[in-house]
C-alpha cells in the first residue's frame, strides 16, 4: 500500500517537473522568436503593407482564360494553348532541370556512399578517421547549393554543368550525413561475424552492412532527388541552366502571363516527380533486397 502511494507521489513529482520544464522551454522559445523578429524586422505592420502588394502581383499573374475558347487553337486569345504558347520549349527546360537534379543526385549519392562508412562511429577504424570524415561531410553540406552555383557559374560559365556540380556537391554532404546515421543504426551482429571470418574492413562493409542499409539509402536518395528538383529550379536564377533561368528572365521582364504559365508547369512537374518518387520510396522500404 505504501509502495503504491510512493509511486503515485514520484509520478506526480515527475509530472510537475516535466510541466515546469515545458513551460520554461515555451517561454524561452517565445522570447527567441521575438528577438529574431526584431532583428529581422519582420513586424506585423511591414507584413500588413506587403500583403496587398502581393495580392496585386498575384492578380496580374492570373492567366487570361475564357471558358468559351478554353480548348481553341494557340492563335486565339483566352485559350489554354495561347497561355502555354511556348509549352514545348518550357517542357524541354523543365526536363533539363529534372536531369540536372537527377545527375547531381546520382553523382552526389555515389560519393556519399563512399564517404559515409568511415564517417559512422560504429565502423570507423579509429576516432580520428571518424572525425575527419564527419567534418568533411559537414564542409560539403554547410555551403548551400546556390552559393556553389554562383562560384561555379563564374568558373564554368552559364549552363547546366555548373548546376549539376553545385547541387552534387551539396548532396554529398547532405546524403553522406544521413547515410552515416543509417549505418550507425545497423545491427552489428553480422559485422562481428564477418570480421571473425578473417574478412577485411571493406569486405565487412560490403557484406555485413550494405544489405541492411541499402533500402534506407535508396529512400533517402529519392527524397533528396525531390529536394534537388526544387533546388535545380532556383539555381537557374543564377545562370545554372534549366527552367529557372527562363523563369528569371520572364520575371525580370514582367511577362505576367508567361510567369504564371511556367510556374504552373513547374508545380505540375514537381508534383508528378514527388508522387512517383514517394511511390518508389515506399516500395524500396517494404520490398526485400
Amino acid at each position: 500500500m505504501s509502495g503504491a502511494t510512493s509511486i503515485e507521489q514520484a509520478f506526480q513529482a515527475r509530472r510537475r517537473q516535466r510541466r515546469a520544464r515545458a513551460v520554461a522551454g515555451g517561454a524561452l522559445l517565445l522570447g527567441l522568436l521575438i528577438v529574431s523578429a526584431v532583428i529581422a524586422e519582420a513586424f506585423l505592420d511591414a507584413l500588413g503593407a506587403g500583403l496587398p502588394r502581393m495580392g496585386e502581383y498575384f492578380g496580374r499573374l492570373i492567366p487570361d482564360l475564357h471558358l468559351a475558347e478554353l480548348f481553341a487553337g494557340s492563335k486565339i486569345q483566352g485559350s489554354l494553348a495561347f497561355w502555354m504558347y511556348r509549352a514545348d520549349s518550357w517542357l524541354w527546360l523543365l526536363f533539363e532541370t529534372s536531369q540536372i537534379a537527377a545527375l547531381a543526385t546520382l553523382a552526389g549519392a555515389m560519393i556519399a556512399v563512399l564517404l559515409c562508412f568511415p564517417a559512422a562511429s560504429n565502423l570507423a577504424p579509429n576516432r580520428a578517421t571518424y572525425l575527419v570524415f564527419r567534418r568533411l561531410l559537414e564542409l560539403f553540406r554547410t555551403v548551400p547549393d546556390i552559393v556553389y552555383a554562383l562560384i561555379l557559374v563564374w568558373a564554368f560559365g552559364v549552363g547546366p554543368l555548373a548546376g549539376i556540380l553545385a547541387i552534387g556537391l551539396h548532396t554529398v554532404g547532405a546524403l553522406g550525413k544521413l547515410f552515416a546515421e543509417v549505418v550507425e543504426n545497423s545491427t552489428m551482429g553480422p559485422w562481428h561475424a564477418t570480421l571473425a571470418t578473417g574478412a577485411n574492413w571493406a569486405q565487412c562493409v560490403r557484406y555485413a552492412i550494405l544489405p541492411q542499409v541499402l533500402p534506407n539509402f535508396l529512400s533517402y536518395v529519392l527524397l533528396r532527388f525531390e529536394v534537388n528538383v526544387r533546388g535545380a529550379t532556383v539555381i537557374g536564377f543564377v545562370g545554372a541552366g534549366g527552367i529557372g533561368q527562363e523563369l528569371y528572365q520572364v520575371i525580370s521582364f514582367s511577362y505576367y502571363q508567361e510567369i504564371s504559365a511556367i510556374v504552373a508547369l513547374i508545380i505540375l512537374g514537381v508534383v508528378a516527380i514527388d508522387l512517383s518518387s514517394a511511390w518508389l520510396r515506399h516500395r524500396a522500404i517494404r520490398q526485400p533486397a
Binding site: 551482429g189 553480422p190 562481428h192 571470418t197 578473417g198 577485411n200 569486405q203 557484406y207 544489405p211 541492411q212
Partner: protein
Amino acid sequence: MSIARESLRIHGLSCRFGAVTAVDEIDLDVPAGQMLAVIGRSGAGKSTLLRMINRLQEPSTGSIAYGPTDVTALRGRALRDWRRDCAMIFQQFNLIGRADVLTNVLIGRLNHRPWLPSLLGLFTEAERAMAVQALDRFGLLDIALQRADTLSGGQQQRVALCRALLQEPRMLLADEPIASLDPHNARLVMDALRQINREDGLTILANLHHLDTARAYCDRVVALDRGRIVFDDIPDRLTPDVIMAIYNITEQEFHAADTPVAEPMRQIQ
C-alpha cells in the same frame, strides 16, 4: 583434411574492462582435436575468453599461442588469416538476414578471395560447390536460395556452421551456440558440432550453459567463476557435489540462474 592442427596454449590471460576483471590470469592448454566445454554462470567471462582467442577482444595481459604462432602479436593480414583459421559461431547466429543462405555461407570464403572480386560478389563455381556440399551435409540443401531471415533458429545456426566450415578453419569457437534454441534444434546443432569435431578433427571450444550438454558432448569441461578457472577435468568428474563445492548452489539453481524464465510469457504476447 590436410591442414596441420596444433595445440592452443593460453598463459596468464586477463581482460579488464575498467574496474571489472572479466578474465583473470587464465592458463589453459587445449590439445589438437579436443572438444572442450567452457561452463560458468552469466558474466563469468566465457564470451570474453573466446573473443580474445580470435582477437575480437584485445587481451589486457597474457599470451595465446597456436603451435609456433604467437596469436597475441598478430597484426593486419596475419591477424585476418588467424581469424580465418579460428572460426566462430554465436548465440544470435549473426547471419545477414536480407541475403540468401548460399551467400551467407560464402562469407566464409572472403579471406581466401582477392578482395576486389569479392567486393563485386564474384565467388568461383568451386566455392559455390563447396558451399552446396556443406549445406547438404547438414540437411540444408533445399533452403540454399531462401533468405536467411526466413529460417528457424536451428537452421540459422547450422547455416552459420557451414559459413564457419567454408573458412577451412583449424579450430572452432562456439559462444553459447544452443542457448537460443529449443531442445530438438539444440540437439541437431550439438550433433553437427560433434560430427565436425570427430570427422574433420577440428578443435572445438564451446561455451555451454547446460551442464548435461557439456557432459554428453565434450571431452573435457572447464568451469569459470568470476574470470578464473575453478574446475578443469573430464565431464564424469563434474558431479552435483562438485557444482555445490565450486558455485555453492545446486545444479538446478545453476541452470535457473541463466534460463530465460520469461520465455513462455514472451510467447503469449
